[in-house]
Amino acid sequence: MSDLAASSANPPPAGEVSRLAEHLFRHEAGKLVSILTGIFGTDRLQLAEDVVQESLARALQTWPFYGVPKNPAAWLMQTARNLAIDVIRREKSFHEKEPEIITTIEQWSTDTDAGSQPLFDSEIKDGRLRLMFACCHPQLPHEAQTALALKTLCGFSPAEIAKAFLTSEAAIAKRLVRARQRIQELKIPFEIPAGENLEERLEVVLHTLYLLFNEGYKASAGENLLREDLCFEAIRLATLLVEHPAGNQPRTHALLALMMLNGARFGARQDSAGNLLRLKDQDRAHWNREMIARGLFHLDQAAVGDEATKFHLEAGISACHCAAENYEATDWRQILALYDALIAVDNTPVVALNRAVAVAKVRGPAAGLKAVDAIANADMLDSYYLLYAIRAEFEMELGRFSAAANNLRRAMQLTPIKSEVTLLAAKLHECESAEGQIDRGHSQ
């Protein structure tokens, strides 16, 4: 370690604090864990994570005194490499393979100052994809897959994952331990699947990334920026996937398009006070045009071949919203057509609820209510606040304020998001005063 300390011993000029790239530690942690897992094996995932954590701790101990090294990523890689060699020499379980492993590690360039890349980018990317396929193995439970991907690939701590998933740290820790055990038991290999196997495995990876994105997207509020980070991590991982021949398929592009087209509208989803804004109240100037353009590019790439997955359809719906100059210009007919197709492949209550909104836009609020009533397995939505918020919307449009108010009260009880409660309360107030006016009208 002392060679490293010496190489960065020149402090930065006084008054010029070296700045670290945003999320550098987190992103490097993800990279390093996948590289080390390639060396230790998937059954020693925890060991790889520990070595990376220790490398970051070493940086934390020394950088504040000596300044940020010229190439921070290379410094971390070099430190991880030295620690890995220590571990391999110390641990009996590596004895047989020790010389082979050490040769591999020593091939990493040790030149941290020249700014050279110690490993080829393509190798690093391959490592990350291998780990992605291991984390998203079909024999791991879904919730374990997302948690493990966030921990190992994205460098989130259990506490951060718990916060983002609105659950307890202990629950996440348990999920992670079980997932790592399962990987050991099943001897899940560190590889990018090929042939027929690839199709099925890719499907699971895409689904996990989709869940990851939605977890961050669905409720989200200014109170918790980490949730937005989940979405950006999902986009990062999906981007890695499309850049690799194994992942470069129409449905991967469709998923990426969907995430980018939705993610592009993040900036406009809340006002300066952090309150969530409905689509119709958003300032579209705050939509990220560059990201929309990238999303549309991937949607274009997705349109190859004859498969129309749910990702294609959802991306299409999102593209319709992005293409509209303002809320009034939204092409609801096209959106409804896409929802009709979506429901044919993914008839879940939440999709059906969203479709009901499109129905109301095209055929009026009464038709919208009818569509809500017709939702299959609607009991799954019983405690979903948006069901009541949407019903209230339709009832209001029909001038039935007392029914609307009842739905709004129910919605307010069910949402955990403060800014949503504020929004619903404002609507409730509107209903109550409208009701009052009607009552006064009757009594006169």
């Binding site: 370690m1 006084a14 008054g15 999320h23 530690f25 942690a29 101990q61 504040p64 701590s157």
Partner: protein
């Protein structure tokens, strides 16, 4: 007149459960703090210590053991050397240490000029001479 003080950072392993994001944020804050103190001329320098070394004890140094233990609240992880007006100023600076929130302790010690025992003896002698 300015005097010299040492800030000793006590506690190792306090960073164990930090997430990468928190570690980065902490490193940045600590760096900014150190840079500012150097720029203001209040800090002459500082160094981190590696976590483990040897502890020598016993007559003639017969006991040489590994230590301090990897995680300890007492172990010194690094130091700053300050030149400030008085203890109050040194303490005020110590209060700005970004690690405090995570359980790091900062010990503030004036650097003694000369040998304190000898100094005391000289003072006593001077008192006698005056009397």
């Amino acid at each position: 007149m300015n005097s010299e003080y040492m800030l000793l950072f006590r506690g190792t392993g306090w960073d164990k459960n930090l997430s990468p994001e928190e570690m980065q944020s902490h490193a940045s804050k600590f760096m900014a703090w150190f840079e500012r103190l150097k720029l203001e001329g209040k800090c002459k320098g500082g160094q981190p210590l590696q976590r483990e070394g040897k502890v020598v004890s016993g007559k003639g140094g017969r006991n040489v053991v590994d230590g301090p233990f990897a995680e300890s609240k007492e172990a010194i992880g690094g130091y700053f050397s300050l030149t400030v007006a008085d203890m109050d100023e040194a303490v005020a600076i110590a209060k700005g240490c970004p690690g405090l929130d995570y359980g790091l302790q900062v010990e503030v010690r004036p650097v003694a000029d000369g040998c304190p025992t000898l100094k005391l003896a000289e003072e006593r002698l001077a008192e006698h001479a005056m009397a």
